[in-house]
């Protein structure tokens, strides 16, 4: 595996303002993450609110400065790069934001928004840039004439397409999406997921997706890292990790998914309560207060992320002796006539020439 982006013991602490009495508190949002992301893969970072996944995404592009640790991109440590060199590298590392309503400047036309990164990086002459904008709009399923309109004239799904075109403008090799489809309706979400996969192929991108939706991750990702309270607790190829989780938290996440199939297994609650406050994480394994398998060792000693071979790694003292439940292949129980109807629908959709277009 050739890693395009690697982190080593990456940390980010947020310090609260010092109160009138007492000490300021420190939130360890990212508490020592080491990852290798391979060129050309789709890598997903999954976890619940407050696990540090969005902070990690921002650290990967150094949109925020790490407290400690390294981020390696093509032989250079982004974490210690001087600002000028960092700006130049940003061309190759781009970000897609979750909320297409707040991430586009409402006073700029769509064309100006997409052209901005080209101007910033001094790419092309004005006519070349205009041609590039028109091309990008077509590539993301919009029309060149949309360049003269403003973001408010578009729906959420279309705005996310504009955000994607903007991210693609400077010709990046790595695209990081922080919940890129979670604000969208199901049918629009599927369109954008397909678009991202097409663009990844067309432009030879490495895609890093931050998400909480485990079904979207299962569909998109080659490899998955599961985060809990600032740490990666498990990492591995998506198919393996879903079928055969090694960390009790991964098992709990998979068990909690409501499956959209009649008579499917009911979602199970493997863990009770909420994740603990990251200001005062528990000693030992951070998951132990909610873990059904915790022992004395888990309560006192923090497990390290350990290589299990076959691309799998896990941070759990009991990884060797636990046999955890994964998500079995979820078959849809449908009548034969319904199965024919789905095939008919899929065929009709495949025949539609403007399938990619949102209008």
């Amino acid at each position: 595996m050739t890693a395009i982006l690697s982190t080593r013991d990456l940390r980010k602490d947020f310090v609260t303002a010092k109160p009138l009495f007492g000490e300021a508190t420190v939130v360890r949002a990212v508490a020592g993450v080491s990852l290798d992301i391979a060129e050309g893969e789709t890598f997903a970072i999954v976890g619940e609110s407050g696990c540090g996944k969005s902070t990690l995404a921002r650290l990967l592009l150094r949109l925020i400065d790490p407290t400690a640790g390294e981020v390696w991109y093509k032989g250079e440590d982004l974490a210690s790069l001087p600002p000028a060199r960092l700006r130049a590298l940003r061309r190759e590392l781009q970000f897609i934001f979750q909320d297409p309503f707040s991430s586009l400047n409402p006073q700029m036309t769509v064309g100006a928004l997409i052209e901005e990164p080209l101007r910033t990086h001094g790419i092309g002459t004005p006519p070349e840039r205009r041609a590039k904008v028109a091309d990008l709009l077509t590539r993301v399923g919009l029309r060149p004439e949309h360049a003269d309109r403003y973001p408010h004239e578009f729906s959420g799904g279309q705005r996310q397409r504009i955000g994607i075109a903007r991210a693609l403008a400077s010709g990046p090799s790595v695209l990081i999406g922080d919940e890129p489809v979670s604000a969208l309706d199901v049918s629009i979400q599927a369109q954008v997921v397909n678009l991202l996969e097409d663009l990844k192929q067309d432009f030879g991108l490495t895609l890093i997706v931050i998400a909480h939706d485990l079904a979207v991750i299962r569909h998109m990702a080659d490899r998955v890292a599961v985060m809990y309270l600032g740490e990666v607790v498990e990492c591995g190829p998506a198919a393996d990790l879903y079928a055969n989780p090694k960390h009790p938290y991964t098992e709990a996440l998979l068990a909690a998914i409501p499956v959209a199939s009649y008579g499917a297994r009911a979602a199970r609650t493997m863990v009770e309560g909420d994740p603990p406050n990251p200001i005062s994480p528990p000693p030992g394994c951070r998951f132990h207060p909610r873990c059904p398998y915790a022992t004395d060792l888990c309560r006192s000693e923090r497990p390290a992320l350990t290589d299990l071979g076959a691309g799998r790694s896990v941070a759990c003292h009991r990884a060797a002796d636990l046999s955890l439940d994964g998500l079995d292949d979820v078959a849809q129980s449908r009548t034969p006539a319904a199965r024919d109807r789905f095939a008919l629908y899929a065929r009709a959709m495949a025949d539609k020439p403007h399938q990619k277009s949102p209008e």
């Binding site: 959420g156 199901v186 998914i257 409501p258 979602a267 909420d274 789905f342 209008e359």
Partner: protein
């Protein structure tokens, strides 16, 4: 279920000022005691407006109920006076909203909010009402309920707030619970806890539930009956088994196809093309026609919701859809 339904909604129509076509059109369903009906659909399909109309909480103007009846235990919710509606709302009929932070009073302690509601609806004394509030927090399994009673909403986590909302909704033993995206703002492990809690409380109390959601997974977990809405109309309705194992409407099929599978990866997702038209731009006939791969000239008429047998109703000119009858594919978009 042979007894009379608890809730019988018929021909509900809601108009939006400045828009000619109704934005909720001819919506109806029945619900018996102990049953859960899930209304599923995407943004703008009218699912929330339908539930707000039932509770008399539509913002008027610009919205207005222009037709229909909603018989709840023999009385029409849509035509009753505000005083009577206030008695019923929060009492026999209770609501749970998506974002508990906006529906709980941030300046009032949790215990006081629940107590206020039971004092009002059950006429309990201050002391008894507080005891009832404590009992309810215990029933929704909030840890250390005695302590939580005197805390403010901001001191609770998202999951705990949603539990507090449920405690408040159930404090007056409602017969009907209307829950609008109750778990959408929650993490998946917390969602599983809340759904389990809602199911077990419903079994204990025998309340009927209308659950509004966009998540077909939640529908499969919770529903006895399902109504799929698109563009302000019900396009398909039936038992959960009928709708999931034998979906008929092209929109239902498109919605289900759009969901990524949890099993082995299966190439590109089959989607629903395009976007929902703006309310003022809804096509005159079938409102899904602009996005439907099977649309023909027959779809310029409003399709009626027709029973295909066993109460499975579909509003599609081409239902039941078979390969032989497949109309020529539409050649161009809008």
């Amino acid at each position: 279920m042979t007894d009379a339904p608890l809730l019988e909604l018929e021909k509900l129509t809601i108009a939006l000022k400045g828009v000619d076509q109704p934005i909720v059109d001819d919506v109806g369903f029945t619900l018996s005691r102990g049953e859960t009906l899930c209304i599923v659909g995407e943004s703008g399909c009218g699912k929330s407006l339908t539930s707000l109309a039932l509770m008399g909480l539509l913002q008027t103007p610009p919205l207005r109920v222009t037709g229909g009846t909603a018989h709840f235990a023999g009385e029409d919710l849509l035509s009753m006076g505000t005083a009577r509606l206030r008695q019923i709302r929060g009492g026999k009929m209770a609501m749970i909203f998506q974002e508990p932070m906006t529906s709980l009073n941030p300046g009032l302690r949790i215990g006081e909010q629940i107590a206020e509601s039971v004092r009002r609806h059950k006429g309990l004394s201050h002391q008894d009402a507080r005891a009832r509030a404590l009992e309810m927090l215990r029933r929704v399994r909030i840890p250390a309920p005695e302590k939580r009673l005197d805390e403010y909403p901001h001191q609770l986590s998202g999951g705990m707030r949603q539990r507090a909302m449920i405690a408040m909704a159930l404090a007056n033993d409602p017969e009907l619970l209307i829950a609008d995206e109750p778990t959408t703002a929650l993490d998946v492990t917390i969602q599983a806890q809340i759904l389990r809690l809602m199911r077990s409380l419903q079994q204990e109390t025998g309340a009927a539930m209308v659950l509004i959601t966009h998540d077909l997974g939640v529908v499969a977990e919770m529903a006895d009956k399902v109504a799929v809405m698109y563009g302000g109309r019900i396009v398909e309705a039936g038992s959960a088994e009928q709708v999931f194992t034998d979906p008929q409407h092209p929109y239902t099929i498109g919605l289900m196809s759009s969901m990524p599978s949890l099993g082995a990866r299966a190439g590109r997702l089959v989607t629903v093309p395009g976007t929902v038209p703006q309310p003022a731009q809804m096509p005159p006939g079938c409102r899904f026609a602009t996005r439907c791969p099977f649309a023909t000239s027959a779809c310029t008429l409003v399709p009626s919701l027709t029973d295909l047998g066993g109460g499975h109703r579909v509003a599609c000119a081409h239902a039941p859809l078979t390969a032989l009858e497949t109309p020529a594919l539409r050649s161009t978009g809008t």
